[in-house]
Every structure is written in C-alpha cells, then in structure tokens.
C-alpha cells in the first residue's frame, strides 16, 4: 500500500523530485515473554478477554516491578508501555485493599486520556480502585471524596507542587502509597525537569513522614541516558527496560525537500514548505491514507488544515474528514477530535506537538512532519505515531528552507545514525534548589541531618541564605518557614506563569492563550485561526487581558515581526581574561513592531503595530570581541557578523554540557555593536524571568566553553556549518548569516588573548 502510494506520487504530474531519500525501516517480529509467577485471576481474565499475550518487555517490566524494583521503560510509542505498569499496580491494589498509587502526567489532557484506560481495566478486572483525576480542574466539592476514596489518583507536577503543603488531608492516601508512576518522563528535562525532580523529592520526603516507601515506575521516550535520568529525577536506583518485544510493520521514512522554484532573480528559492505539506496531506486524504501532520506552530496547524480543506472543496470532496488540533482548544473539542481520529472518522489531522505525547489516538497509516521539530527525540516520537503492528506505514519529513533542515536533506544518513539526545537534570542549580527547600520548609520543618537524604546538595547553604533573609526560623523542631506568602505561589516550575489572554467571540469564550502568543496571533488586525475558521481580531486589551474577535471569512493570514533588544541593567561581575567578560542582570525587550498580511506565503502588506514592548529581566553573561579581532577577521575576507552569530550558536549548543540545562532554556544575542558595551558583543542569557543559574555557571567557565566550542566547530566535518555545530534549531534569524570559518577564527583569537593575559 505504502509502496504503491509512493509510486503514484512519483508518477503524478506535479512531482518534481522532492523525494531525496527513502529510508526503509525493517519490520520487527514479535517477541513474547513469560511471567515468573502467574497473575491473579482477575488480571489473567483481562488479558484473556483482550486476547493479549505479553511481549517480552512487558513481561520483563512486570517481573521486575513485582520484585520490588524501580523500573524505567523506554520502548517506543505504541509498544504497550501503559499495560506493563498498570498490571503490577493493579495487582498490588488487588492484594492489599488499602494500597494506593499516584500517577503523574505532564499534561491534563494526558491524565484525562489515561483515566479512561484505567477505568476500563478496573471494570474488566473487577479490581476496585476508583481511579480519579485530581488537578486544577477538579471541582472543590469532589476533592475530599477523591482524596479519601480513590486508590489511584492521576495528577500533574504543577498540581502536586500545590498540594504537598496540604499533606495532612492526604494522610490516608500517602500512608498506603505503594506506587508512583511517572509517565512521559523524558519531558522532565532542562530547567523544568530540574524543578520536577525537586517536587518529587519533596513528595518522597512527605511519604517518609507517613512511613510510606513507594516503588517508582517511569516510562519515557527513547533518550540517551534513561537510567541516569531516572536516578536524577527521583534520587532512586532503577532497572532499565528497553528491549522492545512488540511487532512492527515495515516503515518507510521519506525525506521530502520542496522543489526549487524557477524564479529568475533568486535561483536558490524553494517552494513553500507549507504548500508542499498541504499538497501531501491533500493527496494522502484523497488516497484514504489516515494521516497525522505535525507542524512547528499553532498557526501553521490551522493554515494547513484550511488550505487542505480548500483543495478538497475544489475537488468536491467532503472536508469534515480534516481538522486541526492544538493547545488552546477547549477540552471537549480535543476529546472529540481524539475520538473521531480513533474511530477513523477523521482521515487527516494537523497538529502541533500537542499530539506528540502519548494520548491514545490509535496508530495511523502515515505521519507528515512539516519541518524538523528540533530534536531527534521529538522526531522519533512523532514518527512513532505511524505504524500498525502488521501493516506498512509512512513517515514524511518535509524540510524547511533553513540550513538545519536543508542539512538533513543533504545528509539523510546522518539523521538515522544520530543518537537520541540526553535528558539533562541539574541537581546543583542554586536557583531551583533554594526555592524548593523553602517550599519543603513550609511542608514540614527541615531537619539538617534527616533531610540530607532528600536534598543531598546545597541544603545547609540554602537554609543559611533563607535564614538571613528571614524566610525560615530556627525552632527546636527544625527550620520553619516564616514568610508571609504561600511558597508554592512564589516558586513556579516553569517560567514565571505569564499572563493569559482570553479570546472572546460575541462575548463567548473561544480560547485562551499566553500573552506573548496573543501578541503574535490576537492583536488588533490579526487573523486568529481556530479549528480552521478565520477570526478577525478587533481589539486586544493589554490591561484586562481580553482579545475580541469576530468570525469572518478572509483568505489571508497575519504574521508579526519582532525585534529583540538586550540591555544590561546591573553588573554582578566584570573580569578581564584577555577580553572583557561580564555577568549581570539583563533586560530583554521584545518589540512587536509590524505585522504582515500574507496569503499562501506571499506578503500582501506590512502594517505597523502599536503594542507596549514585552520585557523580562533575567541573568546573563556577555563578552566583548575586541575591535582588532574584528579587523583581523574582516581582513581575511570573512563575514565578521556571521562569525559572531555562529560563535553564539556554537556556545549555546555546548552549554548543556557545562550548565546541565536544555539548549531551549538559553537565549542569545550577538551584535557587532552594543549600546552598553560600545563593542561587538555576544550575550548568552537564561530564558527565565529572574534567571535560573545557567549563566553563572557558564560565566565561570568561559574559557573552557570557548575551547569546547572551537573543538566542536573544528572537528565537525561539514564545510559551511551543520546542525552538529553552528545551526540552531531555534534561531530567530533562520540561521542567517553564519560563517563557520570566521567563527573558528574569532574563537582562536579570543583564546590567544586569554593565553597572553595569563
């Protein structure tokens, strides 16, 4: 079927050799496993009814869990991970009538999805656990009942963070806690992951108070370091289960590069990725190939849906088989789409990465990835949505024009040999640790000796700092929180929870979106897309945080242009290590100055925007590239600015090695002349309001960072830069300009200056 499909595409009139590579991923035959001892009858019955024979990894997971081991399961999407942890949990609940289990999911949508799965299992097995969700959406009057009666509770880290101080209300649940299940654990990486790791430690500390010692089960997408990650996230030792025993059909992975246009003035211009995606999706729908298309933005999810519907209308085909799916939709809308996808009423769904996580939508025939999603982990997660056990499936990666995507189009083999990224968690981050130790002090008094087991790093130093600021008080029972605000309100797990804009259409709630997204999609004059419908935004009230829209059919869409400004507002440190480097408080200003009106990727008009700039303050480092270096580079005929830009990207790429962060946690700016320093300057800053400790670490290792970056660039075999060295997946300037040679020369010059000054 798939081969036939590809053949037909290649034969079609509009085919212009877009397929640059087809990687044939072989089928994978089934491998069953044996349990060491039989399951209780209630669960055996379930497996029998569902005609399930356990795969080897499922059996292994159950065996290990029954031995009391903490396990981390990393088999691919749709390999039956859920069942392999639900079975041991339900078994424990069946054997001990009071036993409880806590499931932690990264999103509310996932909890909702998994609740259904658990309820079905309860019903079929007859094991009564009264599984329930307890999160921000749980009505107040149901809460006590859930805490007291449900033996399986599903929540998310944000909720947990808020509920921990109320542990006495959870006493019975916690006293009997047997299992903590953390699903999609790969999501907990970088700064967010480090925060969640602290929440888990706070949870375990409270469990300890109630004499509970729960076993932990993690499930994760494939990452480079599952065992280490699990240990860092929870502080416990784990057994890894990674050998997949589930069967897979053959999968074709197609690299699709939009064709060069014939325009005369720019012979390097390719046809729009979005148009190519739209054509591919239309074709898939016409061929009745159930397809999920991933885009890199909410807006593109909506636009591709809309354009596909237009194409289908032209051919007089029904259009209700295609829809968009993304964050911001109301839960009921999402539920409905998931169901229609599962029962095949929908043939094409265009989604943001909202569907990347394990929401059960069944498996599809085909996945289109419109633009490289930035990480190997995500690409494989998205690709994993295609593929049934016995039939063939198709994955198509449609490249963007940008150098990163184009690199993969030129070197497809490189992609398939690329290791999955590491999930990094920093347990030495002073910003994160201090905040959570303060939270812990508001949950139970802190005892320096006993609590070392939960906070082995920075405990006494943090307490000292908190005491000095009068936030904790020494008492005979330990350190007691004595501040005047709720700790969990002051400490947040992600970036400071931003403001949320409510979008109203005829006084009715259409959706909600973060303020910075509203700047992009819901300013006056903007076209907001919702479920493929166009809404014209009439006003955006920044004070009241309300955007008013009217439904109106327009054939254009809008895009904003922004400018980022960095100014130094306070200097913490200034050193001269051959050149000046500094650390301080930075003010990052984003100015949304213009919006473009476009139709099918063509700019119709530019309109100035009047919106107050968005500013946030953070901690960052900077260093100056002396003018004589600039002259030297320019005298070599190289692009100095391209070099600076490339150095910035290279340094950001290397930062996770030093600062234990995710590259998405850092921002950068390079400028040939900065108003504060009056010199060519590169800034690297924490992408978090108030800073998060990354820049401090990097600042203290500046020379080492330059050395590693130079090594990275020099050792990379590419000629003009590639994703392995200076291409950034999140560059605001489309990775332009970049000059690899200039970058390595700038770094050499900087290191030379360091040596002379020593």
């Amino acid at each position: 079927m798939i081969e036939e499909f590809i053949k037909r595409i290649k034969q079609s009139r509009s085919y212009k050799k877009q397929i640059v590579h087809i990687e044939k991923l072989p089928a994978h035959s089934v491998n069953f496993g044996e349990l060491e001892k039989p399951l209780p009858e209630s669960l055996q019955k379930v497996l029998l009814n569902r005609k399930i024979q356990l795969y080897s990894h499922q059996a292994q997971a159950i065996n290990e869990a029954r031995r009391g081991k903490n396990i981390v399961i990393t088999t691919p999407t749709a390999s039956g991970k859920t069942l392999s942890f639900n079975i041991p949990v339900l078994e424990a609940l069946a054997n001990h009538e009071k036993a409880t289990a806590l499931y932690i999911y990264p999103t509310k949508a996932l909890s909702n999805d998994q609740l259904k799965v658990l309820k079905e299992l309860e019903k079929e097995s007859g094991i009564k656990a009264d599984a329930n969700i307890y999160d921000g959406d749980t009505p107040q009057h149901q809460r006590a009942n859930i805490r007291e009666n449900s033996r399986i509770i599903l929540t998310n880290p944000y909720g947990l963070h808020q509920y921990l101080p109320w542990h006495y209300k959870w006493r019975v649940f916690l006293q009997n806690l047997r299992f903590i299940v953390i699903d999609e654990a790969h999501v907990y990486r970088g700064v967010f992951g480090s925060n969640v790791a602290m929440v888990i430690r706070r949870l375990l500390r409270i469990c300890n108070r109630y004499h509970a010692n729960p076993q932990i089960i993690l499930s994760s997408a494939t990452i480079a370091n599952p065992e280490e990650h699990a240990k860092r996230l929870t502080g416990k030792n784990f057994t890894v289960i990674s050998e997949d025993g589930s069967p897979r059909g053959k999968k074709a992975f197609v690299f699709w590069n939009p064709p060069l246009t014939n325009s005369t003035n720019n012979n390097n211009l390719r046809r729009s990725t979005h148009q190519e995606t739209k054509d591919l999706l239309t074709y898939s729908v016409l061929q009745n190939l159930q397809t999920l298309c991933f885009t890199t933005s909410r807006q593109m999810a909506e636009l591709i849906t809309r354009w596909t519907k237009e194409e289908l209308t032209k051919r007089s085909k029904p259009i209700d088989v295609v829809t968009a799916y993304r964050a911001g939709y109301l839960p009921q809308e999402r539920r409905d789409i998931e169901n229609r996808l599962k029962n095949k009423k929908l043939i094409g769904v265009v989604s943001t990465n909202a569907l990347e996580l394990g929401i059960d939508i069944g498996s599809l025939d085909s996945v289109i990835i419109s633009g490289y999603p930035g990480t190997v982990i995500s690409t494989w997660q998205q690709a994993g949505r295609a593929g049934r056990s016995n039939s063939e499936s198709l994955v198509t990666l449609v490249a963007y024009q940008n150098p990163l995507d184009q690199y993969f189009m030129k070197h497809p083999i490189d992609f398939f040999g690329r290791p999955h990224e590491q999930a990094i968690i920093d347990l030495h981050n002073q910003y994160i640790t201090l905040g959570h130790i303060m939270c812990a002090a508001s949950e139970l008094p802190i005892n320096d000796e006993q609590d070392k087991q939960f906070f082995p790093e920075l405990l006494s130093e943090s307490i000292q700092a908190l005491e000095q600021k009068k936030l904790v008080k020494k008492t005979p029972r330990g350190w007691v929180y004595s501040g005047t605000a709720r700790t969990t309100e002051v400490v947040s797990l992600e970036n400071i929870p931003g403001k949320t804009v409510t979008v109203l259409c005829n006084e009715k709630l259409l959706e909600t979106l973060p303020l910075n997204k509203a700047y992009e999609e819901a300013h006056a004059g903007a076209v907001l897309l919702h479920q493929g419908e166009t809404y014209l935004c009439e006003s955006l009230d920044i004070d009241k945080l309300i955007a008013k829209v009217k439904q109106k059919n327009v054939d254009y869409y809008t895009e904003t242009l922004k400018d980022v400004d960095v100014t130094i507002s306070k200097i913490y440190k200034e050193n001269d290590i051959g050149t000046k480097i500094g650390l301080g408080e930075l003010s990052i200003t984003e100015i949304y100055h213009t919006y473009l009106t476009k139709t099918h990727d063509e700019i119709l008009k530019k309109t100035p925007l009047e919106l107050p700039p968005l500013t946030f303050s953070t901690v960052g480092l900077w260093f100056i590239i002396p003018n004589k270096v600039k002259e030297e580079i320019e005298s070599q005929g190289l692009d100095f600015y391209g070099g600076l830009h490339a150095v910035e990207h290279g340094m950001i790429a290397m930062s996770p090695i030093f600062a234990m962060c995710d590259r998405w946690d850092i921002g950068g700016l390079s400028t040939p002349l900065h108003p504060n320093t009056g010199e060519p300057t590169i800034f690297i800053y924490d992408g978090f309001e108030g800073g998060i400790g990354i820049s401090e670490t990097l600042h203290s290792k500046m020379k080492l960072l330059w050395e590693k970056t130079l090594e990275l660039i020099e050792n990379c075999e590419c000629k003009e830069g590639c994703p392995s060295c200076i291409y950034s997946p999140k560059c605001g300037n489309e990775n332009e300009p970049l000059d690899k040679k200039a970058a390595s020369n700038i770094l050499k010059e900087l290191l030379k200056l360091c040596t002379t000054s020593e």
């Binding site: 101080p165 109320w166 006495y168 209300k169 006493r171 108070r209 002073q430 201090l434 905040g435 303060m438 508001s442 139970l444 920075l458 130093e461 943090s462 000292q464 700092a465 000095q468 600021k469 009068k470 936030l471 008080k473 008492t475 029972r477 007691v480 929180y481 004595s482 501040g483 005047t484 605000a485 709720r486 309100e489 002051v490 400018d563 400004d565 130094i568 507002s569 306070k570 200097i571 913490y572 440190k573 000046k580 301080g584 100015i591 100055h593 213009t594 530019k606 100035p608 700039p613 003018n627 004589k628 400028t671 002349l673 900065h674 108003p675 320093t677 009056g678 010199e679 400790g693 401090e696």
Partner: protein
C-alpha cells in the same frame, strides 16, 4: 562619542530618544541597528568601561543570597489580599472578584496606626503590655493572655430547641413541603407524632432518638443531608449544648501554610465570658500555643467559629500535621458565617466581621483589617517592638466577643 541608531535598509539614522519611541525606521519600518555616530575611536586592547549601569554590591555576588533576596522580594509583592481604591469601585458593591481585599483608606490608616503604635510602645515589654504569663506545656512555651468580660451571650434552651427540631417534618427523607402540608393536615404535627406512621415510623424513631441523646455531631450530619448548611435548624441545634461552647478564632501569617501567631478561645458562662489568648513570642512558640488551645477545648465543648469549617479548623489541623503532633480536633462546630450569610447578606455589602459589627452597632476602639495582621506581626518580629501586637491581640479578642454576640443575635433574625 554617542550612540545612534541606523536603519538596516535605508540607512537613515535616529537619536536614542527617537529610537526609544519608535524602535523601527519611520520611513520603511525596518529594524534599527545601534552604531556610533563616528567611527569607533577605541581600537586599543582595553575597551571602554560599561557606563551608566549600576554595579552589584558585595552580598549579591553570592548566588544563593541573591536568589533568596529575589524570593523575598516576590514574597513581599505577593499579598493574600488586594488593596482596592474607593475611587475606582462602588463602595456599596465591593469587588467580589478578589478573594480577600481591603479598601485603600483602611490600608493607609492602618499603616499610620502602626507607626503610632511603634512610637507608643517603644520601651514596653510584653508583660507590661499584656497582663499574662509565659506558660509551658509538653510542646514548649508560649504567652497566655487571660481576660474576662460581661457577656450578653444567649442560647436557646433545650426544650425550645427540641420543639423546633421536631416540628419540621422535612427533616425526614422523602418529605418535601407538599407532603409535610399533607401530613400536618392529617394531624401529624411533629416528628414525634410520626413514630407510629407505617412508612415513616422507623425514620422518625431514629431521629427522635438522636435528639433525645443530644448528639450534636450526628444530628448535624442528619440535618446537613436535608438542609443547606446555613439553615436556621442547624443553628437551633445549639440548644443541645446549653452553655458548653468554645468560641475560637486564630490569627495567622497568611491564608494557609504559614504559622499561626495567635489563638484565641472564649468560653461563655451565665453572665461572663472568659477569654484566653495564646500568643507566639516568636515562631518557635507555635506548637505550644496550638497545644494550649487544644487543651482548652474539651471534646464535650462545641465550637463557635466564623468560617472555621473551612479556615480555622483545617488550618490548625494543617499546622499540627506540619509539626507531626498527634492530636485530633473533632468537636462539633457551629460556623456562624453560614448563618450570617443567610440572614444578613441581603442587608449588608459583604459578610466580613467588621461589616457585621457595624450592623450590630458594635464599635471597636482599636482596629486593623484582619488582612493586615501578617504585616503587623512581621513588623513586631523585625523590630521586637510590641506595639504592632496590641491591635492584633485586641482584634482577636474583639472578634471572639462579636462572634458570641452575633451567635446570640442571629436567633432573632430567624423569627
């Protein structure tokens, strides 16, 4: 040497002020790039010092201290209450959107008052200010302030209470207003009359048994099944308790998860009301003060509270769990807030105790808005000047007394 901004496209230049206004080129809308208005003169090894930017002081070089300072600032900004300006809001209709709020004028006045207190009590000790003593119990030490007042506390007698509780036939499940009318016509005036009723007899017997044993908690549960928590029947139920009451009210550093700083209990007798307040001289006194309060509330006593079901009692339980102290507060609780809402909400702008007092004609000599208690206590902790404690202790005491009065007065509202 000064900085100018040059358009990337049309090369037009702008001054710093013009740049601040528009941020983009006025003729073509492109970005502006910062540059010098003449060729950069300094090509030497040492670049210019960064000027016009504040430098951090010594302590800020320690990251943990800097982070702690950032947290402290955020804590100060994040208040449990909202200060509402009278100018922007109709004073008759308070901004119910805010969970907790005070008027701007109240706030300003309170701060002025705080200053005055600090001055007045500059050299006073705790003992001089509040007649009382340091007490010690198995959880440590705290400061006890005892006083007593004349009481106008009134409760209904058991007989009256019993009469009311059995006169409403709707207490039985399956009986609504229509069937009640019907039964009354048939001669069933009270639940007692129904004891031999073929269908309702068993239920009626159980109910009467409950009432005759004067079981407050079980009867309360029974009535909750049938009526809203604010129903007068649940107030009349207090007739079970004669004068076995403990009125309690706590002052805290916030709406949850922070220390309780003062716990007050008032016990009405025939003509007096005895008040005990347990004050934290500092945070370490908290377990002892809570313990002292619990020792005061014998399980036989019923509590009278204002929003105590959702605030005071859970708060005390949370703090007990915080310290890992094993104690149980299971007393029956008459939460007067529910009754007040039912009886007075139509007549009052809001149901804050201060507002209710005005309605009852009670005047306070010294008062601060309850929301500002944490601020005042924090000032005491910082300065060790007992001045700011005076209005807190007084506020708490007045709340206890008002609560007693309100409890008694509400009976009149039901008639």
């Amino acid at each position: 040497m000064s900085i100018i901004y040059v358009c990337r496209k049309c090369k037009k230049s702008y001054s710093k002020t013009e740049y601040a206004q528009s941020k983009s080129c006025m003729s073509c809308g492109s970005f502006l790039l910062p540059t010098f208005n003449k060729k950069a003169p300094c090509l030497s090894n040492s670049p210019v010092e960064i000027q016009g930017v504040e430098r951090a002081h010594k302590e800020e070089e320690n990251v943990l201290f800097r982070v702690a300072e950032g947290l402290r600032e955020r804590i100060e900004r994040s208040k449990d209450y909202e200060i509402v300006s009278e100018k922007e809001h109709d004073t008759q209709k308070p901004p119910s959107v805010f969970e907790s709020w005070i008027w701007r004028s109240e706030y300003d006045e309170a701060l002025k008052f705080e200053k005055q207190m600090l001055k007045q009590y500059r050299d006073k000790t705790l003992e001089e200010t509040f007649p009382g003593k340091v007490i010690s119990n198995e959880q440590g030490e705290c400061y006890e302030i005892s006083s007593s007042c004349c009481s106008n506390f009134k409760n209904i007698v058991y007989e009256e209470c019993r009469q009311i509780l059995i006169s409403d036939l709707k207490v039985l499940s399956g009986i609504g207003p229509v069937s009640e009318q019907l039964l009354k016509k048939q001669g069933y005036k009270t639940v007692e009359d129904l004891k031999c009723h073929s269908r309702l007899g068993k239920q009626a017997q159980n109910y009467i048994k409950l009432i005759d044993t004067k079981e407050v908690v079980s009867t309360q549960k029974w009535l909750w099944q049938r009526f809203p928590k604010s129903h007068p029947m649940l107030h009349y139920l207090a007739g079970f308790c004669q004068d076995h009451f403990a009125i309690i009210d706590i002052e805290t550093l916030g709406l949850s998860e922070r220390p309780i700083i003062l716990l007050g209990v008032a016990k009405p007798t025939r003509d007096h009301i005895c008040i005990n307040q347990f004050l934290l001289r500092d945070i370490p006194d908290e377990p002892s003060a809570i313990w002292a309060l619990i020792a005061q509330i014998d399980p036989k006593l019923s509590l009278i509270t204002y929003n105590g079901k959702s605030f005071d009692v859970p708060y005390i339980k949370q703090r007990l769990a915080y310290y890992g102290i094993d104690a149980y507060v299971g007393n029956p609780n008459f939460d007067v807030l529910h009754f007040t809402r039912r009886a007075l909400k139509p007549k009052l702008a809001d149901c804050r105790l201060e507002t209710v007092e005005k309605y009852l004609g009670i005047k306070r000599d010294i008062n601060i808005p309850g929301a500002l208690v944490p601020h005042f206590y924090d000032t005491y902790l910082r300065t060790k000047n007992v001045g700011p404690l005076v209005p807190i202790v007084e506020h708490n005491k007045q709340d206890l007394l008002t609560l007693g009065t309100l409890f008694s007065k509400l009976y009149e509202e039901w008639q």
